[in-house]
C-alpha cells in the first residue's frame, strides 16, 4: 500500500513545477501548461484523499469533474491566447500589459 504522503509529495512537486511555469515562462501556452500542471496536482490530491471515502467515491467524482472543467478552461484559454496573439503578434505575457486597445 502506497502511503498518502507519497501522493502528497508528488502533488506538491507537480504544483511547484506548475507554479514555476506560470510565474517564469515567457510563452503564454507554457503558462497554460503550468496551470494544467497545478490543476493536475490538485486532482492528484483529490484522488489521494478519495481513499478515505470508499462508499461515495467523492474524491474520484470530484477529480472527473475537475478534469472536464480543466479541459473546457484550456479550450477557452487557448482561444483567448490565439486572439491575443493575433492582436499583439506575441504570446509573451510581459508584452501584454495594456487592457485598453
Amino acid at each position: 500500500m502506497i502511503p498518502l504522503t507519497h501522493f502528497l509529495v508528488v502533488g506538491a512537486c507537480l504544483f511547484a513545477i506548475g507554479l514555476y511555469a506560470v510565474l517564469a515562462r515567457r510563452n503564454a501556452i507554457l503558462v497554460l501548461v503550468g496551470i494544467e500542471l497545478m490543476i493536475n496536482a490538485a486532482i492528484l490530491n483529490l484522488v489521494a484523499f478519495g481513499r478515505y471515502d470508499k462508499t461515495m467515491y467523492g474524491g474520484q467524482v470530484f477529480a472527473l469533474f475537475a478534469i472536464v472543467l480543466a479541459a473546457a478552461a484550456v479550450a477557452v484559454a487557448l482561444a483567448i491566447i490565439l486572439n491575443v496573439y493575433k492582436f499583439y503578434r506575441s504570446v509573451n505575457p510581459e508584452d501584454i500589459k495594456n487592457l485598453k486597445d
Binding site: L19, V22, L23, A24, V31, P93, E94, I96, K97, N98
Partner: protein, 665 residues
C-alpha cells in the same frame, strides 16, 4: 436798575467798542491789501467821536446800565450789558484819545514794514478788547476782554516774530499774564459761588454778602490779576521785555490799553477790597515803584528806561488804590497815559532816525542805546521840546499834568499814612524817594540823548539826522499839549480844582486833609527835581561822572535785580527739567510700554504663524505626503505584468498560510 432800552449814550458807547472790532474784521478779511491802515484809523476816529458823545452825556450824570439776556446754564441766566458810569466813560475816552494819535503815528512809523497789514489788524483788536473791558458790566465779559487784551498784546509784542528775542518776549508776557489771569478767574469763581451773579454792579453795591475771609481771598485774587496785567513786582518782568514790539505798540500798551487794565479793574471793583487787601495793594505798589525806579537808573536801552518808568508809575497808581483814593489813581493813570505815550512816541521818533542812519550808512550800532546818542536837540528840536515836556510831567514839575496827579497822590498818601500805624507809615516816604529817583533817571535819559555829543560812528553822519515826519510829529505835539495842566485844571498848582477828580471823588470818603502838605510836597518834589537836574548836568553833560560802574548796587540795578536770572534758575529751569523728565517718561515708559506691548503682540503672532505653518500646515502636508508616499509604493505593484500579479498573489497566500501555521501551532 438796568434798562433794556438802547439810549443814545449807550448806542454811542456800543459803537465805540464795536467799530474797532469791525475794523479788525475788515483788516483781517482784506489781508495784505491793508497797507495804509485807513480802515483802522477811521474806525478808531469814529470810536473817539462816539466815546466823546457818550462821555458828554454820562459824565457827572447818573450811571447808565443796559442788560440783555446772554445765555442760560441750568436755572442760572447770564446777562451781558454795558455799564456807563464816570470811570467807564473816562476810560472809554482815554483809550480812544490815546489810540487815535498812536494809530496816526504808526502810519508813518511802520511804513514799509512787510507785515504792516497784520499790524493794523492786531492794533484794532487790541483797541476793541480794551474798550470792551472798560464798558463791560459783568465779570465774565470783563474776563473775556481781559484775555483778549492779553492775546492782542501777545501778538503785537511778537510782531517781528522772526526775531528770537521778540518771540521769547511775547511768550514771557503771555505766560506771566496767565498767572494773573488765574487770579482773576479764581476771584470770579469766589464771587459767583457766593453771590450767584457776575454782575459788577451787584458785586460792588453789596460786597459784604461775601464772608469776610472769602472777601479777602477774592480781593487778593483780583489783585493778582491786576498785578500781572499792570506789571507789579514781582510779576513785572514781562514789561521790560515787551519792548521788543514796535515802539508805537509800546506806547499804546504803556499808556492806555494793557497796563491800565489792571488799575482799571481795581478801581472798578474798589468796594470789594477790605483793609487787608488795600494794605497789600499799597505795599506792593510802593515796593514796585521803588524797585522799578531803582532798575531804571542804570539802563542804557532808551525803551527799557521808559518801561521801568511805567512800572514805577503803575506802582504809584497801586498805592493810590491801596490808600483808598482810587480817583487819584485814575487821575494819575490819565495824566501818565498822556506823558508816557508821548515819551514813547518821542523815543520811537529817535529810534526811527537812528535806525534810518544805521541802515543808510551800514553802521554797527544799537539804535536804542542811549550811549550812542547825544546832542540830538540840535537835529530834532521839536522832538526835544515834546520829550522835555513829557519828562517834566513824569518828574512832577509844576504846570504839567504829572505835577497835579503825582502831588495829589503823594499828599493823599501822607494823609493816609497819618492814620496808619507801623511800617505802613513808611510808604509815603518811599514814594518821595521814588520821585527823586524818577527825576534822576528821566533827566539822565534826556541828558544822554539830547545833550553832549554823538558817539563816533554817528557823529560822522549827523547831518543825516533830522526831524521826524509830520504824521509822527502831530501826535507828539498833541500829547505834549495834553501833558500840560490846562487839560485838567485851570489852576496849575492846586490839585483841588481838577475836574476829573471832582467827578470821581463823589463816591469816595475823603481822607482828613493836611493843609500844610499841599504846600510842602510840591515844593519838595520841585526842589529835588531842580537839584537832580544840576547833578545830572554836572555828571552827564559835563562828563564828570563820579561813581564806579561796577559796585554791587550798580550791577544789581543794571541787571534788574537779577530777577530774570532768579526766575530762570528757580522756575523756568526746573519746569524745563521737569518737562524733559516727562518727555523721557513719555518716550521711554509710555512709548516703551506701548512698544513693548506691540513687540509682545508681534512675537505672539510670530509664534502663532510658526505653529500654523509648521504644525497645522505640517500635519496637513504630512497626510498628503503619506498618501503620496503610499501611492508611490503601491504604484510599483500596478505594472500590468500578469505573472507578477500571480507572484504577489502567491506570496500573500503563502504569508497567510505561514501565519496560520505559526499561530495555530
Amino acid at each position: 436798575m438796568p434798562t433794556t432800552a438802547l439810549t443814545y449814550p449807550l448806542l454811542a458807547a456800543l459803537s465805540a467798542v464795536l467799530l474797532p472790532f469791525i475794523g479788525f474784521l475788515l483788516s483781517a478779511a482784506l489781508g495784505k491789501h491793508v497797507r495804509n491802515g485807513a480802515i483802522s484809523i477811521s474806525a478808531i476816529s469814529l470810536s473817539l467821536l462816539a466815546a466823546c458823545y457818550a462821555f458828554a452825556q454820562v459824565w457827572n450824570q447818573a450811571p447808565v446800565h443796559i442788560q440783555w439776556h446772554w445765555f442760560t446754564i441750568g436755572e442760572q441766566a447770564f446777562h451781558v450789558g454795558l455799564l456807563l458810569d464816570n470811570i467807564a466813560v473816562l476810560m472809554l475816552v482815554l483809550v480812544c484819545v490815546i489810540a487815535l494819535p498812536v494809530h496816526i503815528y504808526s502810519a508813518a512809523y511802520m511804513k514799509g514794514d512787510p507785515g504792516i497789514h497784520r499790524y493794523w489788524t492786531y492794533l484794532s483788536l487790541f483797541c476793541f478788547a480794551m474798550l470792551g473791558l472798560v464798558v463791560a458790566d459783568n465779570l465774565l465779559l470783563m474776563y473775556i476782554c481781559w484775555e483778549l487784551v492779553g492775546f492782542a498784546s501777545y501778538l503785537l509784542i511778537g510782531f517781528w516774530f522772526t526775531r528770537d528775542s521778540a518771540v521769547q518776549a511775547n511768550k514771557k508776557a503771555f505766560i506771566v499774564n496767565r498767572i494773573g489771569d488765574i487770579g482773576f478767574l479764581i476771584g470770579i469763581g469766589i464771587v459767583y459761588s457766593h453771590l450767584g451773579t457776575l454782575d459788577t454792579g451787584t458785586l460792588i453795591s453789596t460786597p459784604e454778602t461775601l464772608p469776610a475771609p472769602w472777601l479777602t481771598v477774592a480781593g487778593l485774587a483780583f489783585f493778582l490779576g491786576a498785578m500781572a496785567k499792570s506789571a507789579q513786582f514781582p510779576l513785572h518782568v514781562w514789561l521790560p521785555d515787551a519792548m521788543e514790539g514796535p515802539t508805537s505798540v509800546s506806547s499804546l500798551i504803556h499808556a492806555a490799553t494793557m497796563v491800565a487794565a489792571g488799575v482799571f479793574l481795581l478801581a472798578r471793583l474798589f468796594p470789594v477790597f477790605n483793609e487787608t487787601v488795600l494794605l497789600v495793594i499799597a505795599t506792593t505798589g510802593a515796593v514796585t515803584a521803588f524797585v522799578a525806579a531803582y532798575f531804571a537808573l542804570t539802563q542804557y536801552d532808551i525803551k527799557k528806561i521808559l518801561a521801568f518808568s511805567t512800572i514805577s508809575q503803575l506802582g504809584f497808581m497801586m498805592v493810590g488804590i491801596g490808600i483808598g483814593m482810587y480817583p487819584v489813581a485814575l487821575f494819575h493813570l490819565v495824566t501818565h497815559a498822556f506823558f508816557k505815550c508821548l515819551l514813547f512816541l518821542c523815543a520811537g521818533a529817535i529810534i526811527h532816525e537812528m535806525q534810518h542812519v544805521k541802515e543808510t550808512h551800514a553802521l554797527d550800532i544799537d539804535p536804542q542805546d542811549i550811549r550812542n546818542m547825544g546832542g540830538l536837540r540840535k537835529h530834532m528840536p521839536l522832538t526835544f521840546a515834546t520829550m522835555l515836556i513829557a519828562s517834566l510831567a513824569l518828574a512832577g514839575f509844576p504846570f504839567t499834568g504829572g505835577y497835579l496827579s503825582k502831588d495829589a497822590l503823594l499828599v493823599h498818601t501822607f494823609e493816609w499814612a497819618a492814620l496808619q500805624s507801623g511800617a505802613a507809615k513808611l510808604i509815603p516816604y518811599v514814594l518821595v524817594i521814588v520821585s527823586m529817583l524818577t527825576s534822576f533817571y528821566i533827566l539822565r535819559l534826556l541828558a544822554n540823548v539830547f545833550f553832549g555829543s554823538l558817539s563816533n560812528p554817528l557823529a560822522k553822519n549827523k547831518t543825516h539826522i533830522h526831524e521826524a515826519p509830520m504824521t509822527m510829529l502831530i501826535p507828539m505835539l498833541f500829547f505834549a499839549g495834553c501833558s500840560l495842566f490846562p487839560l485838567f485844571s485851570v489852576n496849575p498848582l492846586n490839585d483841588g480844582h481838577v475836574w476829573l477828580m471832582q467827578g470821581l471823588t463823589t463816591t469816595v470818603s475823603t481822607l482828613p486833609p493836611l493843609r500844610l502838605l499841599h504846600l510842602v510836597i510840591p515844593l519838595l518834589t520841585t526842589g529835588v527835581t531842580g537839584i537832580v537836574a544840576v547833578i545830572i548836568w554836572h555828571w552827564y553833560v559835563n562828563g564828570k561822572y563820579p561813581l564806579k560802574t561796577n559796585g554791587l548796587l550798580y550791577r544789581l540795578s543794571q541787571h534788574q535785580g537779577y530777577l530774570d536770572v532768579l526766575y530762570n534758575v528757580a522756575i523756568v529751569r526746573p519746569i524745563v527739567r521737569l518737562s524733559h523728565l516727562l518727555l523721557w517718561v513719555d518716550y521711554h515708559v509710555v512709548d516703551g510700554t506701548v512698544n513693548g506691548l506691540a513687540a509682545l503682540g508681534r512675537s505672539l503672532a510670530a509664534t502663532a504663524a510658526w505653529i500654523d505653518q509648521r504644525l497645522v500646515d505640517g500635519l496637513v502636508r504630512l497626510v498628503g505626503k503619506i498618501a503620496w508616499g503610499l501611492g508611490h509604493i503601491f504604484r510599483r505593484l500596478q505594472t500590468g505584468g500578469v505573472q507578477r500579479y500571480f507572484a504577489t498573489l502567491f506570496l500573500v497566500i503563502l504569508v497567510i498560510l505561514l501565519y496560520h501555521i505559526v499561530v495555530l501551532l
